[in-house]
Amino acid sequence: MALLIGAPLLGACVLALPLTARGGRWVREIVTSLALAGALAGLVVTLMTWPVLGEATRASIHLGPLDPSEAAAGTAWSLAPLAMAALFVAIAIRSRSHMLLGLAIGQIIVAGWSATIDLTSGEAASVVASGPLVLDPLAASLLLVSVVVGGLITIYALGYEPDHLEHRGQQPARTATFLAWLLLFVAAMNLLVLADDLRMLAVGWEVTTLCSFVLIGFDGDRPAQVAARRALAYNLLGGIALGLSILLAGPGASLTELVAGGEPARAVLPLILGGCIVAAATKSALLPFHPWLLGAMIAAAPVSGLLHASAMVKAGTYLLLRLAPPIAGDGLLGPALALLGGVTFAVTAFVGLRQRDLKRILALSTISTLGLIAAAAGLGSPAAVAAGALLIVFHAVAKALAFLSVGSIEQVTRTRDLEALVGSLRTAPRLAVPLVVAAVALALPPFGLVVAKWAILQIGARDVVLMVFLAVGGATYLALWTAVVGRLIVRRADAPVPRAALPLRESLPIAVLVVGSIAGLLVAAPVARLLADPAGQVAFGVDPGLAAGWSISLAGGAFAVPIVAALAAAAAAVAVVVARRTGRIAPGPYLSGAGPTRAGVAAFHGALGGPVAVRTAGFYWGVRHGRERAAEKPGPVTPGMAPTARVASPAHPAALDEDGLTGGPWRVMTAAGWLLIAWVCALAAASWLGLGPLP
């Protein structure tokens, strides 16, 4: 247990030492490996000491001298959120941002008030009879994700970061500091997931905020700093919401008490839950709070991977799943949360369909999936929580793979513009195949994610509004990944062939994640049996019974995973056999008549007699890339309709930053999100005032 948080923490401290930073590559690699091995050993020991895998049990864990029930440690834990808030004030002053300063001061007021009550009431120390940490199947799922996937991302960073820093004009020696922050991130996530005591939860919460701020701004240039401050601002807002919830919950409160609806918190429970929903929505970048996560795409690939796959955004949805029983029991908040999740799911998938920046597509698809998990928490039945846990696990593996492979693609080709990567599945299969595997695992049945999506559709079938959003969002999400893979797969005669050699530290984690993602084809039921079903049972006391043999079953039907997996395998095998038996002929593309094709590059006859090269581009919903380019340089415009016919353009970073982050759809999306959050807050207040159906 101590190893789980302590090993990465210690590793981070050692790496942060100036001596280690100067020690060169081997020192930092050995220290990082030891820290990760320690965390992994800690995970194994923890799961062997408290066997919660496949068992619907909760283990209360004491921390010995660090336990908040000890006088000195209790004081320290009460003061820790205050110290974090003070640190944020210092950061705000240093970055000379009035908004940050206002938010940080708000946080320090809330944390200070909370700490004062804690310390003066004297209750805090005595109330916690059970342990301040709780290990149950849901926490174990998140721990597995955090340690295993987070560890793989950190190993990847060993190979990726020096080159990345060099490219950005920084000292490669800063890699040690970078790794230190990654390890601290993992440690904070582990603390957050295990914490039952709300003060410890707050500490984990704020440390992840701090880590994300530092890591997003790690490259040090102006855009990185802007993105980091934006992330900090949003997360400080969430921190204030969480702080207010903790303040309302009273001294010494724990998550267990909130879930049980304990007496001190009973009257203000809706307000506490509303605060937690807002806090989780900021952390998970749900709808009105999405800008910070999209801005964070400027960071290095391991940071994005950590933020999206294993830590940070998963913390928000974890809190929602943890609090699903009281939220669903409230009668007003549950449907509101489901609506917020459903709208997030559909709208972000649509906006994703407008993008050509690969990382931004990944970010929007992450937010989309997080919306689905939030919707599951809002549905709040045992099976829904189990499906949400399944989503968290499978999404972590596939999305980590997607981010790492895009990181490698960007490192080799120096672009992540989808239009500049056309045909890379053919020219650089080693780079592009992992991304395609991730796309398939994210979007197609019977991979775990889609099976979980199937379950949520059936569980929420009675909620008509939610179903409309999930149906539209599901189709758009599928189209989004089809559009991405569709560009990579195009045969283009003059597509650039990048050098495709990755260091082992990069290719190894990618290979492991590829295997993990492909395993998702078959393991939905075993994972449900080990993690998701017990998680639902612990939350509600009823076994959701998702796992049935190798299939996933619900009251309304069963997803026969083995049969569909066999079908998918048959389809893949047929495709491979057919492709192998098909001759390697490559006629030029059909151009409705003879064109002056030269060296395999197709062309039309131009109006002035010269050849005009054929260029096509992918589908970006409602975005007309072709127009301005066509005005600059008269070129062929493919016949047809507005959103599809356009001329491809070379990678242009400025254009990438503009696309889709402004304009009508963006404003509508943000406004809708704020309306929904206002709706959630209003419902929480209404429920508190007794206007709603309280059980």
């Binding site: 099976a383 053919r426 979007a443 197609l444 889609v450 559709l457 059936q458 079938a461 009675r462 008509v464 409309v468 149906a471 539209v472 599901g474 189709a475 599928l478 189209a479 089809t482 569709g486 797969i489 195009v490 045969r491 283009r492 043999g549 009251a555 309304g556 039907g557 069963a558 997803f559 026969a560 049969i563 569909v564 079908l567 998918a568 389809a571 893949a572 495709a575 057919v578 492709a579 098909t582 001759g583 390697r584 002929i585 490559a586 006629p587 593309p589 059909y590 409705s592 197709a602 054929v614 096509t616 992918g618 589908f619 062929p636 493919t638 016949p639 047809g640 959103p643 599809t644 016919a645």
Partner: protein, 293 residues
């Protein structure tokens, strides 16, 4: 798992194998009727099947290995989706598998850089966004009304046709889309009234075109299976409704030449989507004894 009866499984297998013949006949009838509307004699009833067998017999090389592989996989998944339904499996799972099949076809369509094929692939993507939600909503309405998503359970239950009166419109839109009736023929049309006649199938010829076509027939067969599933207990009412809906589809087909993707989306979501939402509401109201949570 539900115990599988070998006899019914065999019947399901045979039904899956002969399903394209049914779809081919339906298309033949459709061509006859359309010809009659346009005061032509039209092709023989079996012409679609003749076309398909002729294409299959042609020895034309594939333009691209990846396209060939994807088309074959598309057919396998489409057949599998129909087989899942006919064998009494989960309806929603079958629809998700069908979505995967459609994705593979779109990838095959856009894998070679002919501008016409690229344009067709883009439009196929729009059609996917337009149609997939309707399919999912229709199946959810079935599930809510019947209390189960298992095809076997739905077929054994009372007729859904009376409980989901508006769903017929959604199914009509879906059938029109899978049979590539206008305005859903904007990616690849059988007629010259679209400005893009062969878009997504531009780079497919001979037996590979036949494989693609066969896959589409299986998609249509799945929608037909959905219709039959709702109507099987009340065949006469169903036949009348089907005739009326078909007349509507034929009129729409002949009245919407050169429709844009916006029209297609508006019709799909405006008519099909609204009808599906109404069906979901009525299903929720009428489902009393359902076993859904």
């Amino acid at each position: 798992m539900i115990a599988v009866d070998p006899l019914s499984l065999g019947i399901a297998l045979i039904a899956t194998l002969v399903a394209p013949i049914g779809v081919g006949l339906l298309i033949g009838v459709d061509r006859k009727v359309t010809a009659a509307v346009q005061l032509r004699i039209g092709p023989p009833l079996l012409q679609p099947l003749y076309d398909l067998t002729k294409l299959l017999a042609k020895a034309s090389p594939a333009t691209d290995r990846i396209v060939a592989g994807l088309l074959a996989a598309h057919l396998v998944l489409a057949v599998g989706a129909l087989a899942l339904v006919l064998a009494g499996g989960d309806l929603l799972a079958a629809v998700l598998v069908l979505g995967a099949a459609q994705v593979l076809f779109i990838l095959a369509a856009g894998a070679v850089e002919s501008p016409y094929a690229q344009l067709g692939a883009s439009r196929e993507l729009i059609l996917l966004v337009a149609m997939e939600p309707l399919l999912v909503l229709a199946v959810i309405a079935y599930g809510v009304a019947a209390g189960s998503f298992s095809t076997a359970a739905i077929a054994d239950g009372p007729s859904l046709i009376f409980r989901l009166p508006t769903l017929g419109l959604t199914l009509a839109v879906l059938l029109a889309a899978t049979l590539r009736k206008s305005p859903f023929d904007l990616a690849s049309s059988h007629h010259a009234h679209q400005e893009l006649v062969k878009g997504s199938t531009t780079e497919m010829a001979g037996r590979w075109l036949a494989v693609a076509e066969l896959g589409h027939w299986y998609e249509a067969a799945l929608v037909l299976a959905l219709i039959v599933l709702a109507a099987v207990q009340a065949p006469i009412v169903a036949a009348i409704l089907a005739a009326v809906t078909y007349a509507f589809v034929v009129v729409a087909d002949n009245a919407t030449p050169r429709a844009t993707w916006r029209t297609a989306l508006a019709i799909a979501w405006g008519i099909g989507g609204t009808a599906a939402v109404l069906a979901l509401v009525t299903a929720g109201l009428s489902a009393g004894e359902g076993i859904l949570p």
